[in-house]
Amino acid sequence: MGTARVIIVGASHASAQMCASLRQDGWTGEILLLGDEPGLPYQRPPLSKAYLAGKLSPDELLIRKPDFYLKQEVRFRPARVVKLHPDALQVELEDGEVLDFDHLALCLGARPRRLSLPGAHLNGVHYLRGAADIQGIQADLPTSKHAVIIGGGYIGLETAASLRQLGLTVTVLETAGRVLQRVTAPEVSTFYERIHREEGIDLRTDVEVLALEGGDRVRGVLLAGDEVLQADLAIVGIGVVPNVELAQEAGLAVSDGIVIDGHGQTDHAHIYAAGDCANYFDARYGRRLRLESVPNAVEQAKTVAATICGKDKEISGLPWFWSDQYDLKLQIAGLSAGYEEVVLRGDPSVGRDFACFYLNEGRIIAADCVNRPQEFMFSKRAIGANLAPQRKLLADPDTALASLLQVAESAG
């Protein structure tokens, strides 16, 4: 047996971070990164925005440059893992080759939920997850005038904004009563609906999509009530499914994601998971969660690296997210699920900036901040400190946010 080896499966945000953290935490053994896409880990958030708009090259998309992997002695190999052999501490590749590991980190990500409707297989119907998906959309752009987006979540809305800015007519279809229903307060949904309509998007809620129509290419989208929307391009953004099959077939615990403990470990001592594919217990919110976000992937990757290096670190970062649409930069701190009331700072019914704080028993548990970076950074600290500010002061634009923190901190 030679030097100890960490194998990381999946070239992703989690794995790029894990490579750095392993070295920073003192791992001197081998690091082998196996990816099932051709290249090094790249940033996914810009895919629906700057990359789709053609403002970023594939090289600029890389999370860390090739030089980083050379200097940190990380070996990258494009290869698909088809099977795990946990007890033998081995992974098996598509071509039958078997590789030994001392520690195995699963950074498998998630894949788009597929639309199961007639016509979903037509050319011109796209999903959005990897760089290749964007290249597919871009190839269709020169011949496209009308885009229909199925799904009014963040991915759908970001893509709608990007395509609108590229000059297409865009329709957004949402089956629920409002966009972003699963993740935001009605006030925030109403704000985004207004903005998208002001930008010229035909945004429809409470819509039932029955089929995609066309010969070999999509030409229209059939709605309940027999209306057909013209479509040269249809983009489906209806959520993702975690990639758990490798873990499941190997007998690891899986329940809406690969189940990990606070140290990023699965129920097998030498196997870990991080990112969109992992289900962890969040101590702050008191429940098991599977989050789909870069900061979550980064935090869990750091935790796994620390655990592999024998350091005691628990998954502890406050969940946060961001979404860019047009000139709007939304930053979300914390998780709002189960909130009792909201406090608004600024007016979402006019203008393009405000913050929506989510409170539970008077304490701030989350915040959606649109073009309000200060409110976002305030919220990160306020949630961490269990701050229960006076609602009137929180809403008052003339009350400095810093003063609310000082009150809390001096009160101990």
């Binding site: 070295r23 940033q43 440059k65 946060w320 961001w322 930069k329 200060q374 950074m377 946010l401």
Partner: protein, 106 residues
């Protein structure tokens, strides 16, 4: 190649090469400098690449923008010369630059 030195809160220096036109956050993360996270990839959205410029360099680097201010000023470790490294584009004039890191990134 021009170099920049990141000094960790405990005094550990990391001197690395940088490429002109890259941000100082990219320079740091491409060289695995501990204490610079850059979670958002350079969007000034996360505030995890907070650096503090020494006084003798601030005229070269320039002071922080309004957006940077709104992000950093909520940090308990914010100082007059605090910046977000992702918003600091490396130029030849910054060869030899020395910056300090806060104890925690927010």
């Amino acid at each position: 190649m021009p170099t920049v030195t990141f000094v960790e809160h405990d005094g550990t220096p990391h001197t690395i090469d940088f490429v002109e036109g890259q941000s100082m956050m990219e320079a740091a993360t491409n060289n695995a400098v501990p204490g610079i996270e850059g979670d958002c990839g350079g969007e000034a959205a996360c505030g995890t690449c907070h650096i503090i410029i020494t006084d003798d360099w601030i005229s070269t680097t320039g002071t922080r923008s309004d957006r940077e201010s709104q992000m950093i000023e909520m940090s308990p470790e914010c100082q007059a010369n605090s910046r977000l490294a992702c918003q600091l584009v490396a130029s030849k004039a910054m060869d030899g630059l020395k910056v300090r890191l806060p104890e925690f990134q927010m």
